[in-house]
């Protein structure tokens, strides 16, 4: 583990505390059942699970888009924001316009908005693409604009719901590098939900495995692999194999 990470993880109060949280929908379906989880400040936590494990529900709860049926959930780590699997850009705005709207809703003045949006697009390597409209961008570019828009909110916590799930492998690899760089430069806390175990091992400081229907924390895997990592490295593969084995066991439970 690198020095930077170690220093960050030692910060006293956690960023997110989830204490016995359950979520039951009006239909009677139980999405989450008695989930206990603590996310440290500055941590990059990867959550993996099969379909129906309530990953998205968990993120919605942390983001405040929904509230738990029972249990306590607090976010002392500051303001969270959520990135979806689809970029969810507003199609009537340009790339820069989307970022500017985030700034505008935070009360940033017009002149400053323009300059700041250009800077943020530069951060995600999209300088000069600001005037393009969402439909003129590829999936990976749209996702980077969404990331720039999220960063415009200056969040303390970045919640990511399978953000690279719909991208091709090449683009995804590059975006892993990109995300890791932004994470290490900003010190933001990241909760990264994915069904891709390798991706979790590539990015996470820690991997949490959720069970399906209802979602519970099944296991935790510390990731003791030095950064920068490569997704094809033997250490990442080894860990991914271990986590996949646990995940398969969990999925098989539902086959009986």
């Amino acid at each position: 583990m690198s020095l930077v990470t170690e220093a960050r993880l030692s910060s006293a109060t956690p960023a997110i505390v989830i204490d016995g949280v359950s979520k039951r929908y009006a239909t009677g379906a139980v999405a989450l059942d008695d989930v206990h989880l603590e996310v440290r400040r500055g941590e990059l936590l990867a959550i993996v699970g099969a379909s129906g494990c309530g990953k998205s529900t968990l993120l919605n709860l942390i983001a405040g888009l929904d509230s738990p049926t029972s249990g306590r959930l607090s976010v002392p780590g500051g303001r969270p924001t959520l990135l979806f699997q689809e970029a969810a850009l507003l199609p009537w705005h340009t790339a820069a316009g989307n970022v500017e709207l985030a700034l505008r809703l935070r009360g940033v003045g017009r002149a400053e908005r323009r300059a700041r949006a250009a800077e943020l697009l530069e951060v995600v390597h999209l300088g000069g693409m600001g005037e393009r409209r969402p439909h003129e961008l590829s999936g990976g570019m749209r996702q980077r604009v969404a990331l720039a828009r999220a960063l415009a909110q200056e969040p303390d916590i970045l919640l990511m719901d399978e953000p690279f799930g719909a991208l091709d492998a090449m683009t995804r690899d590059l975006l892993h590098d990109e995300l890791e760089r932004i994470w290490s430069e900003t010190g933001v806390t990241i909760v990264f939900v994915t069904h891709n175990v390798r991706e979790a091992a590539r990015l996470g400081d820690r991997i949490v495995l959720l069970t399906s229907r209802p979602g519970r924390v099944a296991a935790e895997f510390p990731v003791d692999i030095d950064r920068p990592r490569r997704i094809e490295s033997p250490a990442v593969s080894r860990l991914a194999t271990e986590v996949t084995a646990a995940l398969r066991l969990e999925v098989a439970r539902h086959g009986r």
Binding site: F84, P91, R106, H125, H135, M141, D177
Partner: protein
């Protein structure tokens, strides 16, 4: 001798000390340099990695862009013009054939060239422009009021659930009601006045405008609403920055339909309620029928048709621009 020798020895020792210190200092310097080199290399490495990542991403981005150039402006214009021109030529030819067949005498059904002459002639008269001015101002006031009323009602009904349950179907009912059915009541309420005509125009157009807005709000993708809420937009701010712009294409459909209803209601109103000293397109039509002046009648009908086509063209242009900006146009065709 002894003393001298000791002195020399001492000096030797001193010299050696100095030498040693020099060496130490040089060692330290060397280590500093080494360390700085390492730091520099680390930084270079990171910068290089950063630049490489940027380059790779830029490469992927460039490969994603399409290579096809946009077609020329002239060819686009021609592409839109020729079907219209062909349709026009066919319609005029059909009209001419009916006239030539002798189905009706030519003073009842004049041919296209006679009517065209008449259009040009009335275009040179002050009466025509005065009538057009009156009709246009009624259209603008009535339609403008319908937009205001329809938008407010639409926005309220779309966002307040009990209100929706209460009056949602009533709005659709009003939309299907022929506006001419309102005229007797309008005359009772407003007498023979501008107010009666405007009243019917608003009642004709507002339900369509409200329904367009309601339908648009219903079809806003929930993901965009969630994204808006994640950006910190709530209530009216969310409505203004996310819901309304997302509903705009459907709103535009409602506005266009509302215009069609407004224009029809206006023509009906002007034919039914002929106000003294207020010549309008409708009153001129009535006047031409009274005089059995077929060319004049048809000339005014063509003016009504042209007005409708022009406004529809304006809506089409706005709609096309909206869809292009949002990537809702298939560029492959």
């Amino acid at each position: 001798m002894d003393v001298d020798q000791r002195d020399v020895d001492q000096r030797d020792v001193d010299q050696r000390d100095v030498d040693q210190r020099d060496v130490d200092q040089r060692d330290v310097d060397q280590r500093d340099v080494d360390q700085r080199d390492v730091d520099q290399r680390d930084l270079d490495q990171r910068e290089l990695g950063q630049r490489e990542l940027g380059q790779q991403l830029a490469g992927l981005d460039a490969l994603e862009g399409d290579e096809a150039g946009a077609p020329g402006r002239l060819s686009v214009l021609w592409g839109r013009a020729w079907p219209k021109l062909t349709a026009l030529v066919l319609a005029v030819a059909a009209w001419q054939l009916v006239v030539l067949s002798g189905w009706r005498p030519s003073y009842v059904l004049p041919g296209p060239s006679t009517v065209l002459d008449e259009v040009v002639r009335i275009g040179g008269t002050g009466a025509f422009w005065q009538a057009l001015g009156v009709t246009a101002s009624r259209a603008a006031i009535g339609y403008g009021a319908a937009i205001a009323v329809g938008s407010v009602i639409g926005a309220l009904v779309a966002t307040i659930r009990p209100l929706r349950t209460a009056v949602g179907s009533l709005i659709t009912g009003l939309q299907t009601m022929p506006s001419i059915a309102w005229f007797p009541l309008a005359v009772l309420l407003f007498k023979l006045s501008e107010g009666a005509i405007i009243f019917v125009v608003v009642l004709g157009a507002a339900p369509s405008i409200a329904n367009g807005l309601i339908g648009g709000v219903d079809h806003v993708p929930p993901l965009l609403v969630r994204a808006g809420r994640m950006l910190g937009a709530r209530g009216p701010t969310l409505f203004r920055h996310v819901v309304l712009p997302a509903a705009l294409p459907s709103c535009l459909g409602g506005l266009k339909q509302g215009w069609a209803f407004a224009w029809r209601s206006l023509m009906a109103g002007e034919l039914l309620l002929i106000l003294p000293n207020r010549p309008s397109i409708g009153s001129q039509l009535d006047f031409a029928r009274d005089l059995n002046d077929s060319p004049l009648l048809l000339a005014y009908m063509i003016v009504v048709l042209i007005a409708g086509i022009l406004v529809d063209g304006a809506f089409g242009a706005v709609d096309g621009r909206l869809r292009r900006r949002r990537g809702l146009v298939d560029t492959a065709t």
